[in-house]
Amino acid sequence: MARLIDWVDERTGIRALTKAALEESVPGGARLRYVFGSVLTFLFVQQVVLGILLATYYSPSATDAWASTAYIQDRVAGGWFLRGLHHHGSSVMVVVTVLHMIQVVLAGAYRKPREFNWWTGLLMGGLVLAFALTGYLLPWDQKGYWATQVATGIMGTVPLGEPLQHVVQGGDQYGNLTITRFYALHVFVLPLSLGALLTLHIYLFRRHGVTPPASLNESQLRDKTQPFWPNQLFLDVAAMAVTGAILVWLTYRTHGAELFAPADPASNFVARPEWYFLFLFQLLKYFEGPMSIIATVLIPGAVATFLFALPFVDRANSRAVKSRGAALGGVGLIMVGVVVLTALALVEDARNEDFQAGLADAERDAERSRELAAVGVPPEGGTAVWKNDPKYAAMELFKQNCSTCHEIDGRGGEEAPSLSHFNDRAWLRGVVRAPQSVAYFGGTKRHRDMEAYTAEDLPDDQLDAVVEYMLMVREQGAESPDLSAYDQALAKQGEALWASEVECSGCHSIEQGEDGDGRR
């Protein structure tokens, strides 16, 4: 083994490279507070690996994206797990990015000479959010489609934003080009940009070293110095392991990432962004009409400007926390704002019954559409999965064969009986009063014997009783009769009327083969 390494080393200088990578002294000693950068690097590499794995089954087109994602989620072995890790990985990255930033701000590590570390870090933070935004759309499910509509919609409302919006989404509305563009951004542009910034960030970090606690003086720092390898790296890897364990736990607990029903431009889905964008979502609610630019551009722009300018805002002589009140207060205020807005958004949704009902509907649709996808999605893709539903097939058959004459829910012909609310109370009442109307049996070739019962023959209260009786008869024929579907007392009256006074039984039979020859 040693000889093999010698052989390689002679030709590559790998020992010197490894040494240079690992031999770094950590003044003041290894500390847990330094782990966040390493954890983020680990998460980024893991996201890249998971992303490549997902790309081996995913197809970025408006017709295939949802079907291929459902295939990964519900069919391919381990697909849900890897997709879940990738999905929750982005949430964990956002959390660790914030922790990293808090640590840097508390340590005063944005100050001279580390301004470029700070700026490259902020840019990478922005890229992490851009990853989340572009990745959210890729499954082309209801949630991704509608939430991203809001984001690109915001883009279109700001000055000069419309051309930008059309470039990003590839035209004036969502379609194949939207998904190919988001895909190209998500898997090529953003990872390459992040990789380049990360290289620069690590180079700058190695140039300036860690920012040790301000409380330690020069000689204390020297005395406590430990090597990066293995002391700090052990802490780093231990923190990665904890992060990895949380990620696996999250993934198992949620059975991976959500996948809602395929994107349906005709539906009214209750769109919500991912949790770490909820504060922006909440902010939008407070500014109406032309004022909305305050929430979409001015406030976020001011926050970003403040963060970028932080090395200049902070003019204190010391790195000690006490002497940097203004800078820390500013960052603290931003944090509090984000937390409060996020909490408000969550509380509002939790109390909003319409939202909860919409969410329940969405989850039901998600489950059903994914069941239907199991036999394969028709080539029109996405919402065409509903065609696998026998109910849908029945509706299609009706449209093709019945709707020329029959009307249902306002659509179709009027020559034959209307089938809207067929056999409900109003329908039954109507058919007794005017059986020969085209809305009932007027347009049919048979069923011409029944004559209308006017209010004189059959007063309204008696008609109600008879209708109730008919409902009772229907319920009793069901497999599991529902006693609350009709008024029992009224039905009793109706039963008496049926046989005696009104003489329905002269023509209609209740049980097959008995009494007259009319319908039911």
Binding site: L22, Y71, A77, P230, F234, V237, G244, P378
Partner: protein, 192 residues
């Protein structure tokens, strides 16, 4: 990170007892880095292998189509000169289910009153063979394999005759073919 147990690090001049305690701690940290790192990698690598190799797993069929006989034409259309027919079938392709799409083509020829069908897929490496009326042979456009009217390999690198497909006549009139695919490049005709 690579494991570097063998690399000498402690200078020989350090006092014996504290150095060995520090060495033990260092070894622990190094082994810890290796073990935790390997564990972390395994979280992704193990499911990734199962996931990537899933198309090979037992009972998994990524694509379908070609299990059934497909009607390709009327008995009267076919004669001693081979005629190419396209095979249409319902096909499942991973997440898609498509009705009535082309899944391949076959050559149909009558010999001694019997209909024969050959897959147009060359048994050598899968190019589509064509009928050359001039030479009276099936010719592969890729590597010069040629096959007789009865499918036998006559020239070139093809290791076996053209693959015969099952033919069925229905109601005396309609001709149906079962389009199957076979392993390429082998002497034996093995269904895949």
């Amino acid at each position: 990170m690579s494991d570097e147990h063998e690399q000498p690090r402690t200078p020989a001049s350090s006092p014996p007892t504290p150095a060995s305690a520090a060495d033990g701690r260092r070894t622990f940290l190094k082994v810890g880095v290796g073990a935790l790192g390997a564990g972390l990698a395994a979280v992704v690598v193990a499911p990734a292998l199962r996931y990537s190799l899933w198309p090979l797993a037992d009972g998994v069929k990524v694509t379908s189509g070609g299990e059934d006989f497909v009607i390709v034409g009327n008995r009267r259309q076919f004669g001693a000169d081979p005629i190419k027919v396209d095979i249409y079938a319902d096909r499942v392709d991973a997440w898609n289910r498509v009705a009535n799409v082309k899944i391949g083509s076959a050559w149909v020829v009558e010999r001694e009153g019997q209909l024969h069908a050959f897959s147009s897929v060359c048994p050598h490496l899968g190019c589509a063979v064509d009928w050359s009326a001039e030479h009276g042979k099936f010719k592969c456009p890729c590597h010069r394999s040629a096959f007789g009217r009865d499918g036998t390999a006559e020239e070139g690198p093809a290791p076996r005759p053209l693959d015969a497909l099952d033919v069925e006549q229905r109601d005396g009139e309609l001709v149906a073919i079962r389009f199957e695919r076979f392993k390429q490049g082998t002497e034996d005709k093995v269904k895949i």
